[in-house]
Amino acid sequence: MDYLDYVQMTKGQRFAYRIKSFFTGIPGAIKKFFAIVGAIVKKIFLGLGHFFQNYGGRFVKGDIGTKLSYVIMGAGSMLHGQIMKGLIFLATEVAYIYFMITFGSYYLARIYNSNMILLTTTKTAQGYEQWGTGALGKEVAVHHTGTFGSELKNPDTYDDSNKVLLFFVLTCIVTIAFIAVYIANTKSAYASQQLKREGKKPLNFLQEMKTFLDERFHVTLLTLPIVLLITFNILPIIFTIFMAFTNYDEKHQPPANLYQWVGVKNFADVFYSNPMKSETFGKILIWTLIWAVFATFTNYIFGIILALLINKKGIKAKGFWRTMFVVTAAVPQFVTLLVMKLMLDDKGAVNSLLTSVGIPAVPFLTNATWARITVIVVNMWVGIPYTMLITSGLLMNIPEDLYESARIDGANAVQQFTKITFPYILFVTTPYLITTFVGNINNFNVIYFLTGGGPAVSEYYRAGKTDLLVTWLYKLTVDTKDYNLAAVIGIMVFIICAIGSLIAFNMSKASKNEEEFS
């Protein structure tokens, strides 16, 4: 179907078409997701090939200093007159070697040992004192020593799967960083060699430092954020992804019980081999998507309507109305949601109001169907003011003469809305809509504070009827200690968000193209 067919459709048909194209877009987006992954892999390999070509090439063409830099970092720089820079390179190498000998190698060796599966080797631990447990008359203090796992241990000397895995990842990251510095060292050596050959003097240290404020200002700006990002964001994510391949659950809680590699068992469990887990996952996934669609669009549509009402010509005290709604948006969510939860309780204020006027009490949060409706409705309560706030500003921004000319053409209020207001708002807020959708897939607060995921049902594995994937993830982490399963869920949420964003991105691109047509 080409664009001409599309513009000839009525509004309703267009809407249906949009919906249809959303769902027909899913396989395409999944394909695209993997295509992108494939492209990234391809790019990496190409890059590696390119890299080795350069790496070898520099060595061949290099002078003695450059060649020496391949073994002793900084040698080239020093020989070419950049003493300070060379020293820094050398210091990096020394530090890395020291790090590997004293720390890194230990954990690299322990990640996969001769027992094939254990994350750590057992290690003689000692130091804990236990007082004999026999009858008092026979009592002697016993100082236990023994192998780890079977005996008591001193907190300073035992192995811990968590630490081994964590330090392993850390060592890998440090190594990658070191390789980057190492490459920079060979490049720099070669570059200064060429400068010298051309008869120019390589930059001295101070000059080089100055480039960080100008030509290489991006390095200055990005270094600290990236270092922290790697340490506290990327490192834990990699750690967690590894966790998905272990049996780190309630039965394997280090330091007392170490955990092991189990391959893709956890993924198999979630997809097919454990009916309980896979059914729970499937059902929660479907509910998560239903929730995200409803939560996003109810807020969006009703928020716009509210904004239109407030900004309608002739309505007085616009600021008052707006502020009343903004107040509820400004109160921290955990407060409003907990208040809502108490008010909607089986015996809460709302139900006592209902029963007092003769309406039977409603199980807002305890009946599965009701609870699902309640969370969506309460989410509207939470979210509509935000949309109203954002779109109010936009409404005022639409040039008045557009409406004027529409009125002259005989357009009524509804037509003005569908022809002018809505397209404009949609155009401006599409990115916001996409982030809200992804945000709703990950909407922890509304579900957790309102229902806690409940009502719990026997058919779900450690979850309730209103649990989203993320609240399930949280409960698995905090309450039941199924860390491995939680990691798998986390990875799945990532993939879903990535695919969802791709679809949304494609659609918004399409809608922007449409703008260009009209």
Binding site: L228, L229, F325, V493
Partner: protein, 289 residues
């Protein structure tokens, strides 16, 4: 002009008046729905009874719960407010700085791995935020920051660079000719950033500061996992949540309400004052307030 036109006008005006009346009614009903829970919360905070009540209006009023907030040793609310403020303020400063730095670099500087960074940022942003908190907790242990407030600051601000999209969108709209002109005058990129771009970016700085302050201010997830039993390092979100525990709710519900009111007041005022910037941030400056 003419009489007929006038009568048409009055007919139109009457119709409009009728519509407006309906709109007023709808708005009033909605305001009631929206504001009632807040009123209920405020009323309960003065209720003399301690537990959850089903009645809307308390039978008698007291100010005791507000006093109890600052005298109850089991629930050291004053300490929590201080913690929350310190964590939120520090995270706000660091995060805002990081976001501005990263988005400026990605928006206005050209370097080799820029595209890769942009994509990596998008990808990392799609992992659920707290998916790896168990791991992060272990990392904090290495740094000796276990159950420390500073650990929270790090958690909230270390990944801040990933939230570059909005600010980058803003920087993208500033004409590049400004940079060019400054460069001709001999300014370094460092000087351009601090002296030319940042002064122009007040709206986005306020927006970033607002969101990076309110986020930690109201966060429950990380605090609940990181602080465990260390009550003196809890923040208000966790502390108030604990007041509604099964064991505490029947004696601390009204104290919870008082605490919730107190915590809501400053943030609500802040938000109402700053709402213009919030809107501008979200809509990418499409609104000129």
């Amino acid at each position: 002009m003419t009489n007929t036109n006038d009568s048409m006008k009055t007919g139109y005006a009457q119709k409009r008046k009728a519509i407006n009346t309906i709109v007023y009614i709808i708005l009033s009903v909605m305001v009631v729905i929206w504001i009632v829970p807040i009123i209920w919360l405020i009323l309960q905070s003065f209720n003399t009874e301690m537990g959850v009540t089903t009645k809307f209006f308390p039978s008698s009023f007291t100010f005791d719960h507000y006093i109890a907030l600052f005298t109850d040793e089991q629930y050291p609310y004053g300490k929590w407010i201080l913690n929350t403020f310190m964590v939120a303020a520090l995270s706000c400063v660091i995060s805002t700085l990081f976001i501005l730095m990263v988005s400026y670099a990605l928006s206005r500087l050209r370097f080799k791995v820029r595209k890769t960074f942009l994509n990596l940022g998008l990808i990392l942003g799609m992992f659920p935020g707290f998916m790896s908190m168990a791991a992060t907790y272990n990392i904090m242990d290495i740094f000796g920051l276990k159950q420390q407030l500073f650990a929270l600051v790090i958690v909230y601000s270390a990944g801040a660079g990933l939230g570059y999209q909005v600010a980058k969108g803003f920087f993208d709209t500033i004409p590049r000719s400004l940079d060019e002109a400054a460069k001709i005058d001999g300014a370094t990129r460092n000087q351009i950033f601090w002296q030319i771009i940042l002064p122009l970016s007040k709206p986005i700085i306020v927006y970033t500061a607002l969101t990076t302050f309110t986020g930690p201010w109201a966060d429950y997830i990380f605090v609940s996992y990181f602080m465990k039993d260390n009550e003196s390092n809890w923040t208000v979100a966790l502390g108030l949540y604990k007041m509604l525990d099964k064991e505490a709710i029947s004696t601390h519900f009204t104290t919870f309400c008082a605490g919730a009111v107190l915590i809501a007041i400053p943030i609500t005022i802040l938000f109402i004052i700053m709402q213009r910037f919030y809107v501008e941030g979200v809509t990418g400056g499409a609104v000129k307030g």
